[in-house]
């Protein structure tokens, strides 16, 4: 059986897990290619207009896969940590896809709860039964997928450069170079190296998050907020670049919370949607990099505006 895995959304974080799990079950795996113009256009065509860019791109990946495999896996991840969620759109992802794209093959879109492990096992059994009748095989596949996933760590290799900024945003915006228009390379060319939230350990994140009035119930919000505040307080960075999709509900809260904690640091929010013009995007990044230079070269007590 051919299982299609769309290369969108949390593939960038849990791709290893998805591939290993289906591979161990003996399925043939078809992964959609890196996001490209055609996939984006397909996604925009099918997806509901109000959705954010990553969701639209994901629709494009599914549409690419629809006649190339027997079933398509939809990573409907409800929650990664206990009492925390991803986003309502993730919870309803399977329904969104099923009602938006015509002529789909069967969708493997069972809800995934990452913790506790019994719930994850339930998902594995529910999903695996379409591929094999052997329960032991499914359990083994889950174990090896988990252990492989735990060993991999998401990183972007960075050279040592003059300025260092925190690149914040949801994993699929940060790690998909088409979505963010090759932001990392562009920054590197401007003598700016980046550090992502993955560089901050869980304990330091918890330490910062616990100071909030209300514990954030979005995993991305928790990670990004905690990591940002930790990096700012540690004075390890010269600025913050936040890559955010237009109309993201989580970011509308999160950016404000982070800005509140970084009063004297250059902070740029780059909004992306399917219309983003690359030239304007480049100009803004260049201006930001210039400002970082001015702050370091000419003054020591500048405002956040340079």
């Amino acid at each position: 059986m051919k299982v299609g895995i769309p290369k969108g959304l949390l593939y960038y974080k849990y791709g290893v897990f998805m591939k290993t799990f289906f591979d161990k079950l003996g399925a043939e795996i078809v992964v959609s290619p890196d996001t490209n113009r055609q996939i984006l256009n397909e996604g925009v065509k099918y997806c509901v207009d109000e959705a954010c860019l990553p969701i639209k791109v994901f629709h494009g990946h599914v549409s690419y896969l629809k006649d190339k495999c027997d079933v398509i896996f939809i990573p409907r991840i409800m929650s990664i940590r206990e009492k925390e969620y991803i986003c309502p759109k993730f919870c309803g992802l399977t329904e969104m896809i099923a009602n938006s794209i015509p002529d789909l093959p069967f969708l493997l879109g069972e809800p995934i709860y990452w913790t506790p492990k019994e719930k994850l096992m339930k998902w594995a059994l529910n999903t695996g039964k379409y591929l094999t009748n052997d329960k032991q095989k499914i359990k083994k596949a889950l174990e090896s997928a988990l252990s492989k996933q735990n060993k991999t760590k998401n990183t972007i290799k960075q050279p040592k450069l003059k300025y260092k900024v925190a690149l914040l945003g949801h994993p699929y915006s940060v790690y998909d170079p088409f979505l963010n228009m090759d932001l990392v390379k562009k920054l590197n060319r401007l003598n700016v190296e980046i550090i992502t939230e993955d560089a901050v350990d869980d304990k330091s994140i918890d330490f910062e998050v616990n100071k909030l009035f209300k514990k954030p119930f979005w995993t991305f919000a928790r990670n990004t907020y905690g990591a940002a505040v930790n990096l700012v307080k540690g004075q390890k960075i010269d600025g913050v670049v936040y890559i955010s999709s237009f109309a993201c509900g989580i970011d509308s809260v999160l950016i404000e919370l982070i800005e509140h904690e970084t009063p004297n640091l250059p902070f740029i929010v780059l909004k992306i949607d399917e219309h983003t013009g690359e030239a304007g995007f480049n100009t803004r990044i260049e201006a930001f990099a210039d400002m970082l230079g001015r702050r370091l070269n000419f003054a020591y007590n500048n405002t956040a505006y340079g």
């Binding site: 997806c47 509901v48 109000e50 959705a51 409800m78 009492k83 969620y85 991803i86 986003c87 309502p88 759109k89 919870c91 309803g92 329904e95 969104m96 009602n99 938006s100 809800p111 909030l212 009035f213 209300k214 954030p216 119930f217 979005w218 919000a221 237009f246 109309a247 993201c248 509900g249 989580i250 970011d251 509308s252 809260v253 950016i255 404000e256 919370l257 509140h260």
Partner: protein, 361 residues
């Protein structure tokens, strides 16, 4: 302590009854208006949804009148409503307002002790006895229930009334008179009187008006200013409307949720299209659309604020219901820029379409 609440439909009447009953000083902000929206949007993040902006506007106007404590409800679902309080506290303190926020999250999420501690903050300021406090709470709930009953009746009878405008006039007058009362007993009496009046409105039962269901995001369907008074306008057009989501539905839902006894009908109806709770009231919206079709309504109007995450999911699903059941559904998106004329044109076109469909059937 001078307590205030943000607006949401008729909640201000119940809040007034409660605060009058326990004798705690309070400020009810002006009804939502252009100024409160402008003030609210000025201090809110740009991409934030409309309810946040209107609530901020309410706070700003109450603060001008001296309010120093804000009472709001919370949630811990994946919808961003649960994060409102965090951000509002930060924004208001940045503006130099030192306010006490009382956030009533569901007891299941924060623990019963914490819930009672927060609730206790309001009642500490009251000099009334325990029995009187409980009575005041009971009366506030009764005010909420009866004003909603009146409102639902008025909206439904508007399609059948013989003298056009009767229902609308009675509803308006009732709200005005109820707000003028200074004690809950008096308020309940006034509402009861108007309930009698609305039952006596002359109706023509042979009429076959257009019947619509109002579905969507809870704040924007309940708060008339945020949806440009859509229910009043539909009353003017002689359309009967029904709406399930009300403040009293909401608190019943919260109480019954831990027992999984909340709205079994909606669960069953939504199962085919959306079998999971996705936060906000997305599943309810789908359930309502299916139920509206079953009840023989002629169509449904979905209203939600721009960028509302759960409703974007439902907007992707609703066309399937529309197609499968041949049931017209229109989605209206509201934000602080919504122009009234374009909004009206869309509603009129929708009504015309249903009218012609009704004729051919």
């Amino acid at each position: 302590m001078l307590i205030t609440i943000p607006h949401m439909g008729n909640v201000y009447l119940a809040a007034k009854a409660l605060f009058d009953g326990i004798d705690v000083p309070y400020v009810i902000p002006e009804p939502n208006n252009k100024e409160s929206l402008q003030k609210g949007s000025l201090y809110s993040p740009e991409e934030m949804c409309l309810p946040f902006k209107l609530m901020m506007g309410n706070y700003m106007q109450s603060i001008e009148k001296g309010a120093d404590t804000i009472l709001i409800t919370g949630s811990c679902g994946p919808c961003r409503y649960g994060e409102y309080c965090e951000l509002q506290i930060k924004i208001l303190s940045k503006l130099g307002h030192d306010l006490d926020f009382i956030v009533l999250d569901a007891p299941g999420e924060i623990g019963m002790d914490e819930f009672l501690r927060r609730l206790g903050k309001i009642f500490k300021a009251s000099s009334k006895s325990r029995a009187e406090k409980l009575l005041a709470i009971k009366r506030a709930f009764r005010v909420m229930d009866s004003i909603e009953k009146l409102e639902a009746k008025a909206h439904y009878l508007a399609g059948y009334e013989i003298n056009k405008g009767d229902c609308k006039r009675i509803l308006r007058q009732c709200k005005k008179d109820a707000f003028g009362c200074d004690n809950p007993v008096e308020m309940l009496r006034v509402i009861k009187e108007y309930l009698k009046k609305i039952n006596a409105v002359p109706v023509d039962k042979t009429k076959n008006p257009i019947k619509l269901s109002i579905i969507g995001e809870i704040y924007t369907v309940i708060e008339p200013y945020s949806n440009l008074n859509i229910e009043d306008k539909l009353m003017d057009y002689g359309v009967s409307t029904k709406r399930l989501l009300t403040p009293s539905w909401w608190y019943r839902d919260i109480v019954l949720k831990p027992l999984k006894l909340n709205s079994p009908g909606l669960r069953r109806a939504s199962k085919e299209y959306l079998p999971l709770y996705i936060g906000g009231h997305g599943r309810e919206c789908i359930g309502e659309a299916v139920l509206a079709h079953k009840e023989g309504m002629d169509g449904a109007i979905q209203i939600f604020p721009l960028g509302c995450m759960p409703e974007i999911v439902t907007k992707a699903i609703l066309p399937s219901i529309q197609r499968d059941k041949n049931f017209p559904i229109m989605s209206l998106i509201v934000d602080e820029m919504t122009g009234e004329a374009g909004f009206m044109t869309r509603i009129e076109a929708f009504l015309d379409m249903i009218k012609s469909q009704k004729k051919t059937n």
